[in-house]
Amino acid sequence: MKRIGATDLAVDLGFLKLRNPVLAASGTFGYGLEFKPFVDLDKLGGIIVKGLYFNPRPGNPPPRLAESPSGLINSIGLQGIGVRAFCEKVLPQLQGLQTPVIVNVCGETDEEYAAVIDFLNKNRRIAAYELNISCPNVKEEGRCPALSPEHTFSLVKLAKQSSRRPLIVKLSPNVTDIVSVARAAEEAGADAISLINTLLAMAVDIETRRPRLANTFGGLSGPAVKPIALRMAYQVASRIRIPVIGMGGIMTGQDALEFLIVGARAVEVGTANFVDPGASLRIVKEIQDYCRDKSISRVEDIIGTLMTE
C-alpha cells in the first residue's frame, strides 16, 4: 500500500512498467548478484546485466582501465560467460527477485545477436533485451552497427524478428547524427532506445609514452560525459515516438532528473555503481525527495517538461 501523499515513482515504458525510473546499466552491475550485499535489488526499477555473447569471451589484456578527470576509460572487451552459463548458473540465482531483469545482447555478427536472443527466448525470467549495437562487427572490419543507420536498421529488424521480448536498442554516441540512428532503430521496430554507450577515448602515460590501455582505445564514462549524453537524450527524445532511456555519467538524483526533464522515461546508472555500490538506490531516494519537496505526486509528470521558451 502506498502512503497517501507519497510520490508515485512508477514509470510506464509501454511494454514494461517499472517500479521507479532507475535501472542499473549493463557492464557496471555484473550479473546483479555482485550487488546483493549493498542493494535490495527489488527496490530498483530494473537491472540490465552485463553484455552476453553466445559463447564465453576472454576479453582484452590489461590494463583495461584508465582514470581521467571525472571519468573512467575502459576496454574490458566484453569478457563474459556466454548465454549458456548465464542461463544455467546466474539466472536461477535471480529467480526469487521481483525486479525486471533485462539482458544486454551482443554479437560479432548479426547472426550471433539473433542466436543469443533465440537462446534466451526460452527463459521467462527475462523481461526485455537491450541490443548492444556497439559491438565490433567481424564482417564489417570491426565497425559496429551503431555507426550506421543502415546497419542499425537491418540488425534491429533481424533481432526484432527473433525476439519474443521487448527490444531496447542501445545507441553509441560516436556518430555525427544520433537522431538518424535512433530513427532507423525505431523504423525497424525497436520498442525503446537507450543512450548513450561510452565515448571512444584514450589516455597516454607520458613517462613511458605508451597508451594507458593495452587496447589503446577505450570507452569513456562517468560524470565527464553527462552533458553530451544529456544533449543526445534530448535530441532523440524530441524526435522519436518510442520511449528513451537516458544514461551517461549519472551520479545523483539531480543528474537523473535532468534526463527525465529532457524527455527520458527512465535512466540507467552505470559508472556510479563502481564508486558507490549503493548509488542506484540512493538516486531513487534523491528523485523521491525532489518530488516531495516540489509536491510532485507522480514522477511521470516530470518527463519531457523542459521549458525552452
Partner: protein
C-alpha cells in the same frame, strides 16, 4: 563485504612519501583477514572518481590500518587526511592469504617490496599468533622506503632489510636477499610476497626452483573492487588453459604457480 561510509581516522603516522592511517570500523575489523583489502573513497567529488584499493595493514579489535605510498593524485589526497576526519570504505574485500592448517613451529618467509609491505604485517601477526615463525624480508629503493622497519622490530619480529642503493641492509633486491637466505638456512614452509611485478615474478621463479609453495598478492588498477567491472584482471592458469581473472574477486592473492607472466 560491507560499506562503512564513515570510518573515523583515529591515528596517523606520516613519513617522507608514506602514510599510515588507523580507521575505526568495528564491523570491517571483525571480518578482516590478512591479504584482504579495502576500497577507499578518496573524495566526495567526482575527481578523482574511483576508490583506491588498499591492503589491510593491521587489525585491532575495533579498527583497521592502511599503509600506502603517495603515488598519484588519489593517494596524495588520502595522505592529507587528518585524525578526526572520516573515510568511506568498502571491505574487507578479496580472498586474502591462505594460511596453512599447521603453522606451529613452521618457518615462513614474508617478502615485501616498498609499499608492498602493507599486508605482511597483519599476516606476520596472524602467523605468530598461530605459533608460526614469520621472517620478514623488507626491501626498498633506499632506506627512506623502509618506514615500517621500527614497527616490525618493536614487535620483536625477525626482519631483514635490503635497499637497491645499499643505504641500509643487504645491497640489492629483496629477492636476491631471499635467495642468499635460502642457501644459508632451513627451507621455509611457505613464501608470501607482495610488491612490484618484477619482484613477484622473480619470487615465483625462486619458489619454483626450490619447490617451495608461494603466495603472491597482486596489484592492479581497480574500478569497483567487488567483481562488477572486470577491470582488474591478471592471467591465471585454470587447469590446462589460462584466462583473465578478476583479482578483486579471486585474488588479490594467488598461488605463484597459477600466475602466468606475460612477455
Amino acid at each position: 563485504m560491507l560499506k562503512d561510509p564513515s570510518a573515523l581516522i583515529i591515528r596517523k603516522k606520516a613519513w617522507d612519501g608514506y602514510v599510515l592511517l588507523e580507521l575505526r570500523s568495528p564491523r570491517v575489523a571483525r571480518r578482516a583477514r590478512p591479504g584482504q583489502f579495502l576500497m577507499v573513497r578518496v573524495s566526495g567529488q567526482p575527481y578523482p572518481l574511483l576508490r583506491r584499493p588498499l591492503s589491510i595493514h593491521a587489525r585491532e579489535e575495533d579498527s583497521v590500518e592502511i599503509f600506502f605510498a603517495r603515488a598519484g593524485l588519489g593517494t596524495a589526497i588520502l595522505a592529507d587526511k587528518k585524525p578526526g576526519e572520516t573515510l568511506d570504505i568498502l571491505g574487507p574485500l578479496g580472498k586474502g592469504f591462505v594460511i596453512p592448517g599447521v603453522t606451529k613451529g613452521k618457518k615462513f618467509c614474508l617478502l615485501g617490496g616498498g609499499r608492498g609491505i602493507a599486508p605482511l604485517y597483519f599476516l606476520a601477526q596472524e602467523l605468530r599468533a598461530k605459533g608460526g615463525h614469520p621472517r620478514v624480508f623488507y626491501g626498498g629503493k633506499t632506506e627512506a622506503d623502509l618506514p615500517l622497519l621500527q614497527k616490525f622490530a618493536a614487535q620483536k619480529m625477525e626482519v631483514f632489510v635490503s635497499t637497491d642503493n645499499g643505504s641500509a641492509g643487504f645491497p640489492g633486491l629483496v629477492t636476491a636477499m631471499l635467495e642468499r637466505d635460502l642457501v644459508q638456512s632451513a627451507q621455509p614452509a611457505l613464501i608470501f610476497a607482495c610488491g612490484p611485478d618484477p619482484m613477484m615474478k622473480r619470487t615465483a621463479e625462486i619458489a619454483a626452483e626450490r619447490k617451495i609453495p608461494a603466495q603472491l598478492s597482486l596489484e592492479s588498477i581497480m574500478g569497483c573492487g567487488i567483481g562488477a567491472c572486470w577491470g582488474c584482471v591478471r592471467k591465471i592458469r585454470k587447469g590446462r588453459a589460462a584466462e583473465w581473472v578478476k583479482i578483486c574477486e579471486e585474488g588479490p592473492v594467488f598461488s605463484a604457480s597459477e600466475v602466468v607472466w606475460e612477455e
